[in-house]
Symmetry: C2
Subunit: 232 residues, 2 copies
């Protein structure tokens, strides 16, 4: 791996506090690759040989069953994915494909497990990261089971708004078809849901969203820190 990629990875909370020695040991066995869009990186069921890190571009995690497919998450720089499979030395539960031209680092899972056993600070951060991931999925389950699709969309918009700085106008970061799948609905249904939200002052044209009455949509969406907050 080129040393120019070290700082980005070292900057991740996961790798920030480990010793230099162990960090370099991990980097020594790793490599970096550039992928065009729409390339399958991993397929669910495969053995988890590498911990992946998205350095640029973006990657979609998705799952399939019985010829159906659903979008599970979008991974953006700089972050890791499939840490749990790496740690457990178990098969991937999700597939991954690039959405755009992407730069991805691959760290052999065996090395990750090895360093985990000898570097307490790294171990500490692996746990924090895993706990974080776990809580995110639990929140997602609550979102799916406790809310209607219209409520999920409204809360997604509020989260996206907050993430992009809180302005009343902001962009959707992914295609609508993928957003629909993330939210557990069909593209047609999403399209109609956007129309329904017009009555709460939400305007959409292309990827641009405008929220004209913040109070109104918040009153409908009823966002909760126990479902919608990223950090906690």
């Amino acid at each position: 791996m080129p040393e120019s990629d070290f700082p980005d990875i070292r900057g991740l909370h996961l790798f920030a506090e480990m010793s230099d020695e162990n960090f370099f040991a991990l980097m020594r066995g790793s490599y970096v690759q550039n992928f065009p869009p729409q390339i399958d990186l991993i397929e669910e069921g495969d053995p988890s040989d590498f911990l992946h890190i998205v350095l640029s571009g973006s990657v979609e995690l998705f799952s399939s069953w019985n010829s159906r497919e659903t979008s599970m998450a979008t991974v953006r720089p700089v972050s890791t994915f499939i840490l749990a499979a790496t740690i457990k030395d178990a098969p991937y539960l999700m597939s991954a494909r690039t959405l755009e031209k992407s730069r991805v680092a691959l760290i052999p899972s065996q090395d990750v497990r090895g360093v985990f056993d000898i570097d307490a600070k790294f171990a500490r951060n692996v746990v924090t990261e895993l706990a974080q991931c776990y809580r995110s999925v639990v929140k997602n389950t609550k979102d799916l089971k406790l809310r209607t699709s219209l409520e999920r969309l409204a809360n997604y918009l509020l989260r996206q708004q907050e993430r992009t700085g809180g302005n009343s106008e902001f962009d959707l970061p992914i295609e609508k078809r993928r957003l629909a799948s993330m939210l557990g609905m069909t593209p047609e249904n999403l399209s109609r849901a956007f129309k329904s939200l017009q009555s709460y002052g939400v305007k959409v044209s292309g990827n641009r969203v405008n929220i004209s009455d913040q109070k109104d949509i918040e009153n409908f969406a009823k966002p909760s820190p126990l479902i919608d907050d990223y950090s906690t």
Copy 2:
């Protein structure tokens, strides 16, 4: 905590490999309590002061939003719950209540975090446990998003059958209303779903389930290790 409870807890994978010294240090600050049925143990949003361990009975994890409620999981002896909140020192994401008369051990979260930092083997097992929990929730999300309610029920029955020894006749371990909520459906819908499964050779009376044609129901349910296996 009475020493008679030590072996059960020590037997958990999570606590099995740590040093005696650290194990006793954890037990020293802990206590055990007996609860009648239908008692709220924790409420989502509360600070995570204790790691809980169900020693006997059973505990339901559930979540609420906007005056709706959904069942998230049932915890049976001997296992822990809300480990992630304890480790992250973050608020509980789920509430918990006893389903029956239950014996529950409480270990102060601060002690757990303290021992985690000094006992590498304990840390290793915390990570394994968290990774396991994470993967379970991911599987549950796939179940919810990729399957219809009828398919979820069919696969639940097959899992339950396997868990109870693989016999063609077995019992449902929870009330149907709770099962419905776990599977993301209404009690009425579950009742009708059971009827629909009759055409695949599934007979239900009370809590007793009989599968007369294993091939038939399996062919419909199409269970997958990447959704339905507990261990991996």
